[in-house]
């Protein structure tokens, strides 16, 4: 929760988290599009311009085959324009160059957003001195795998590692943005520390687990900067399709020339135009036709979409170690969710007082409250709260009752309580309390046993309350499902995703909570091996599985899962095994990660469809313009009634270029995603990007044509 406040202060993009839903009440709004608009302003474009120009280097452009062809075309028309200058030729040339620059701009803007984050991270990687246990002092950058260092209060931890001795509070805000310090101690699941974070108190001994230059912060910086960005599998596949389309259109344009020469020779009387003469279609117009046909829109934005997708995760404090994992998140069929903290609130809470042996409910509530006054565990607090809310028993301050002696809980007695005015009140595990009653000469009746069994059976935890030699009744503790979870799981189901609850509880308890939360399946008394086996079983059936984990014993399952999100609070083993790390250590974020994965893929698909659909209108602009002089009948195809052949071709080229700029915000933000079934998503996106893609350019080209026909000579 603190992090959210924190983020508001920082003014970074907001997300609708599960916690917001909880606050919104029992009927939460469906989550809105995860990232807000307004990511693009003129200043940002201007700032990215130098980068965009640098990317014109053919060795860089080559990585984007579609735009590389455009660049080659632009060079070609530049040469032609110099050889035979005309206003038309120069305008086309300028707009072709702009097309390339706009594409580079999209990528540069996407990368630019990560750069700021990287700079902040770098500042955490200041020149730290490492104090080795053997007394040497070396710069942090020289630390080797396996070195052991001592870090004292006020010092910065020099590298990633595990605490092997001591306990300390650590400020990890440099990485997580979370200002509250966390405890790190040797042994167990809280032993991992990250280089660049600061020890606030005490002293720890840390064994370094990273190689030089491969620290977590290094990886984070590389990630947010988009350096060495690997194309993801689907991006590669899409690039292949786009390249194939480019080849087809290249061929269609090149082979047109002999046909054009033949046609022009047949109509020898037809006048030469800017588009066609005795040598066939002019080079400028051929290049224009090619550039308009090849899928430049998606070609220009594809890489920006990928970078922005990763960036959306970073904004939610999730680091994806591979782009493959982000895509896999969109495909996930099964979500494994830990019960505690994800599906239910962290702790069990008192739900009901069940009196026994004819005791008045009020008496039981009073005794339960008294016995819990000094109990600072969440369960204890919840008993006091229940007594107050349901029975109007005001909380009594333990300090105001000097005559009371509080008996704390110990693992041996398994109960706690209070001695006051000769009354001995105890509450605790059923067996322990009943044993204590018998020892006091009392007899816990069969009725108590029946109540205890009933509560256990329903998935709850019974706490027996007794006074001296008689049992007063039983407190029903139960897991409370977070509000809004059921709706969320219904939504998942509509998206075709199964949710599976993982819990250490016995099957009965698990079944009860699973039914209440509305998950599709549960895994009770789950050991790490069970989790691994469950994941394997799902994968055998062709399903993709996502899970979260933090402990070392989660590592095998995290590695096996298609999307394994390790909590930042977890061990280094868990973080190594997963393919994502959640800096907030919020297990519910898995759901958001899935949505981000889907949004990334949808954005790609939508813009590809839009790009290809655009070609239809461009044909209606260019084909008649090219050949009208030879075959006047083709003017029938000029359905937009464009001003002249020159203006028609120029309009198509200009539209082709500026549509890239118009779509940069969409590429960065991602198309709007609402959880829905595949058929609904398809019809909606097809309508907007398919049909819209057919219609928009007709309007756009006509509009541009109306403007440029005012230029004399066009």
């Amino acid at each position: 929760m603190t992090r959210r406040t924190d983020e508001r202060e920082k003014g970074t993009a907001m997300t609708v988290t599960l916690d917001d839903l909880v606050e919104a009440g029992p009927e939460p709004e469906p989550p809105a599009a995860p990232v807000k608009a307004g990511l693009l302003d003129a200043k940002q474009l201007w700032k990215s311009l130098p980068d965009a120009l640098r990317k014109l280097d053919p060795r860089v452009m080559w990585r984007n085959p579609v735009m590389f062809i455009v660049e080659v075309g632009a060079v070609f028309t530049t040469v032609l324009s110099i050889a035979e200058p005309s206003l038309f030729a120069w305008l086309i040339t300028v707009w072709l160059w702009l097309t390339v620059i706009f594409a580079n701009l999209a990528e540069a803007v996407a990368e630019g957003r990560g750069k700021a984050q990287a700079a902040a991270l770098r500042s955490a990687k200041q020149d730290t001195v490492a104090h080795l246990t053997d007394g040497r002092e070396v710069p942090a950058t020289d630390l080797q795998l396996g070195d052991v260092v001592t870090v004292e209060a006020g010092q910065v931890i020099p590298g990633d590692g595990d605490v092997i001795e001591g306990i300390a509070s650590v400020d990890e805000s440099a990485i997580t943005g979370e200002s509250a310090p966390v405890i790190r101690e040797s042994g167990g699941d809280r032993s991992a520390v990250t280089g660049g974070t600061k020890v606030l108190s005490d002293r720890i001994v840390v064994k370094i687990t990273q190689k030089p230059g491969e620290s977590f912060v290094d990886r984070m910086i590389a990630l947010v900067e988009g350096a060495n960005r690997q194309k993801t599998p689907n991006e590669i596949a899409l690039n292949i399709l786009l390249s194939a389309l480019t080849i087809i259109f290249l061929l269609a344009v090149v082979t047109l020339q002999p046909l054009a020469i033949f046609s022009k020779a047949f109509q020898a009387a037809a006048p030469d135009t800017a588009a066609i003469d005795g040598n066939g279609v002019t080079g400028i117009v051929l290049v224009s036709l090619l550039v308009c046909l090849i899928p430049t829109t998606i070609g220009a934005l594809l890489s920006a979409i990928g970078i922005a997708g990763m960036d959306r995760l970073v904004q939610r404090n999730v680091l994806a170690m591979s782009g493959r994992a982000v895509e896999a998140a969109g495909d996930v069929n099964t979500l494994l969710l830990d019960k505690t903290g994800t599906i239910t609130l962290g702790n069990r809470q008192a739900a009901e007082f069940v009196p026994a042996n004819g005791v008045d409910r009020q008496v039981l509530a009073d005794a339960a409250q008294l016995s819990s006054l000094a109990d600072e565990t969440p369960e204890g607090r919840s008993i006091v709260v229940l007594a107050k809310n349901e029975y109007g028993l005001r909380e009594r301050e333990p300090g105001l009752m000097p005559q009371a002696t509080f008996v704390p809980f110990t693992a041996q007695t398994r109960m706690s309580g209070v001695d006051i005015d000769g009354r001995q009140i105890r509450k605790g595990a059923a067996a322990a309390v009943m044993k204590w009653v018998r020892a006091n000469g009392g007899d816990p009746s069969d009725e108590v046993g029946a109540i205890v069994d009933a509560i256990s059976g329903s998935g709850g935890t019974p706490l027996v309350v007794a006074e001296n030699d008689r049992v007063l009744g039983v407190i029903h503790l139960k897991d409370v499902v977070k509000p809004g979870m059921r709706e969320r799981f219904d939504e998942m189901r509509r998206m075709g995703i199964r949710t599976v609850m993982i819990t250490g509880d016995n099957p009965k308890t698990a079944a009860a909570i699973a039914a209440e939360a509305g998950v599709d399946d549960f895994l009770a008394e789950a050991t790490p091996e069970d989790k691994l086996a469950y994941i394997r079983k799902e994968q055998q059936g062709g399903r993709l599985v996502a899970m979260t984990g933090d402990g070392t014993n989660d590592a095998p399952a995290l590695a096996q899962a298609d999307v394994g999100v390790a909590m930042n609070t977890g061990t280094s083993a868990a973080k190594e095994a997963g393919n994502m790390v959640d800096l907030d250590s919020d297990p519910t974020k898995l759901i958001e990660i899935v949505e981000i994965g889907k949004q990334l893929l949808i954005t790609r698909g939508a813009l590809t469809t839009f790009s290809i659909a655009n070609d239809i209108a461009k044909y209606f602009a260019i084909i008649p313009a090219m050949f009208m002089a030879v075959y006047p009948g083709l003017d029938t195809l000029n359905v937009m009634r464009l001003h002249s052949p020159g203006s028609a071709i120029l309009s198509a080229v200009i539209f082709n270029a500026i549509v890239i700029v118009f779509l940069i915000p969409l590429a960065l933000r991602g198309v709007r995603y609402r959880p829905a079934s595949a058929s609904k998503l398809l019809s909606r996106n097809l309508l907007i990007y398919g049909l819209g893609g057919v219609i928009a350019p007709f309007a756009g080209i006509k509009l541009i044509d109306l403007l440029i026909q005012l230029i004399p000579g066009i």
């Binding site: 399709l241 047109l256 033949f262 009948g633 195809l637 595949a678 398809l682």
Partner: protein
């Protein structure tokens, strides 16, 4: 009215046989029993019918068998004068023999010769008719292998090519052919081994009438979507297509297997609705094309058609405008290429339709086997784009469409446009287009049509162009050869890649590929891709002519 009846009864007949005939074909290719004749064939070829083949082995089988067929047919044509039943005809010249051998092995049946004056009975029966059977079987076998790739669960094999080839020939093509050859004979088709007869015509002249085993060859010409006529005039010849009802039956036979194969696909992948969806895409494209062709021919612009009420030039009066227009559409929607009228004489836009049909990749419903696998490739490309729009990496029938799959599908899609466009451009650039009868847009159409027909393995001719020159024979031969076997290799590689995948289960989040929306999308993608590829060329040919 008669025209409507003609089309509607054809549709009704195809709908009626879709299930029973599709199911029969499914049982043939999915069965495990071998009859005595088949076991004899396996022993003769030396194959173990139980051996399952990977895609590589399957593809080698296809190529080896086709190569042997090619050599055999070439030899038979070159040695015709030294063998029996040559009717005294000389050996076929080298470039025509090459072109013809490729043409029949590639299921194209482009004919750079005139049947009655070039081929003796032995060449027709043992050479051309045999290839009519087996080249069709090869096409169906490859389609079946692709279906097995979709249906496989984490396997590596696609069945056995020799078993598929043998069964499809002996259990599907042969029985249907025998049955309908008899029906055709009843309808007045010729079937003999005569050397021909000289008759005196009404005006007192003498005409030589060639007889021959026409009915038997005719039936497989249609059933196997081959299209190579016994006579030069093909199905316009009265001995090859005597009446209006044989004309109807010819169309039925052409469409029988291509339109029933989606049923086999549905059965194979265990979801009949997937078969219906593919058949629906084919039907939408086919009906649209047929309707447009009829419209252009009956209401076509031009002085003569307007005076006559319809464009009758180049058409037989016994079939009429509708019977001819539907034939022209169907023969090019499939890879048949038989003709009962002359496409060169159609109105400009009416003549464009057969060309567009072929440019679609002959997928609606296409050649036997080749139509289905072509359509499935288009479905894969559609799935790839549409699948992304539902927020998952694309999958078709549970199989992920990743880089390898899309690479193979894209290459498949590239082959024919490359052959058509570069061939056409080469003809003009080298001056070989000069053999076209016409100049201007109509001449351009004649050249474009020739390469479109060859590369798509259709085999119909626009006519009006002299193609029995060495340049044309070699160029079109290459177009046919590459246009047939490159796609086949790619399809088999794709099948292998799909077979290895474990299918993902279908959920609410899966793109449904059996609903009208998807059917419409595949049809749309097909049209848009073709329009984008060929529109510039069409603009200088039929569009320029038709819009002037």
């Amino acid at each position: 009215m008669a025209g409507w009846l003609f089309v509607l009864t054809l549709i009704a007949a195809l709908v009626a046989v879709y299930k029973p005939f599709g199911d029969y074909m499914y049982r043939v290719v999915a069965g495990h029993k071998h009859n005595a004749a088949e076991r004899g064939v396996y022993r003769l070829v030396g194959v173990d019918p139980a051996a399952e083949q990977t895609w590589g082995v399957y593809a080698r089988g296809v190529l080896a068998f086709s190569a042997v067929s090619l050599l055999f047919l070439y030899g038979l044509l070159r040695l015709q004068d030294k063998l029996w039943l040559s009717l005294g005809l000389p050996a076929v010249t080298d470039h025509i023999a090459w072109n013809t051998a490729v043409s029949f092995v590639a299921n194209t049946n482009w004919q750079a010769y005139s049947g009655e004056s070039t081929m003796g009975h032995l060449a027709q029966m043992a050479g051309l008719a045999v290839q009519n059977f087996v080249s069709a079987s090869v096409g169906i076998a490859v389609a079946v292998a692709l279906m097995r790739g979709f249906a496989a669960r984490n396997g590596a094999t696609l069945g056995n090519f020799w078993v598929d080839l043998t069964r499809i020939t002996l259990r599907i093509l042969l029985p249907v052919s025998v049955l309908f050859a008899i029906v055709f004979m009843v309808g007045g088709m010729v079937q003999n081994l005569s050397t021909g007869a000289d008759v005196t015509t009404l005006t007192g002249g003498t005409q030589h009438l060639t007889g021959g085993p026409v009915a038997s060859q005719e039936v497989i010409k249609l059933l196997g979507t081959n299209g190579g006529g016994f006579y030069n005039a093909n199905s316009a010849h009265p001995f090859e297509n005597p009446s209006a009802w044989t004309n109807w039956l010819q169309l039925f036979l052409i469409l029988l297997i291509p339109f029933s194969l989606p049923r086999v696909f549905g059965r194979m992948v265990g979801q009949n609705r997937q078969g219906y969806a593919i058949a629906a895409v084919m039907a939408i494209l086919a009906l649209g094309s047929i309707a447009l062709t009829i419209a252009f021919e009956t209401h076509g612009a031009g002085t003569v058609p307007e005076a006559a009420g319809a464009a009758m030039e180049g058409k037989e009066t016994r079939f009429g405008v509708v019977g001819s227009a539907v034939y022209a559409a169907v023969t090019t929607l499939t890879s048949t290429g038989a003709v009962n009228s002359f496409h060169d004489s159609y109105t400009a836009l009416g003549g464009m339709m057969p060309m567009v049909n072929m440019m679609l990749g002959e997928v609606a419903p296409g050649g036997v086997g080749s139509g289905l696998y072509g359509m499935l490739i288009l479905a894969i490309i559609t799935v790839f784009v549409a699948g992304l729009m539902v927020g998952r990496t694309p999958e078709y029938l549970g199989k992920k469409i990743q880089a390898r799959e899309i690479k193979l599908a894209s290459l498949y899609f590239l082959v024919t446009p490359i052959l058509v466009l570069s061939g056409t451009a080469a003809a003009f650039a080298t001056g070989n287009a000069g053999t076209a009868l016409n100049v201007g847009p109509h001449g351009l159409s004649e050249v474009l049509y020739a390469f479109t027909s060859a590369a798509n393995n259709n085999g119909s001719a626009f006519a009006g162009i002299t193609v029995n020159t060495p340049w044309w024979d070699v160029a079109l031969g290459l177009a046919m050869l590459l246009g047939r076997f490159l796609p086949m290799i790619l399809v088999l590689a794709l099948a292998g890649s799909l077979a290895r995948q474990r299918p993902a289960p279908e959920t609410e989040g899966t793109l449904p590929t059996h609903q009208p929306l998807f059917v419409g999308m595949v049809a749309g993608v097909t049209i848009v891709l073709v329009a984008l590829t060929f529109l510039p060329a069409l603009a200088l040919g039929p569009l320029a002519e038709g819009l002037s």
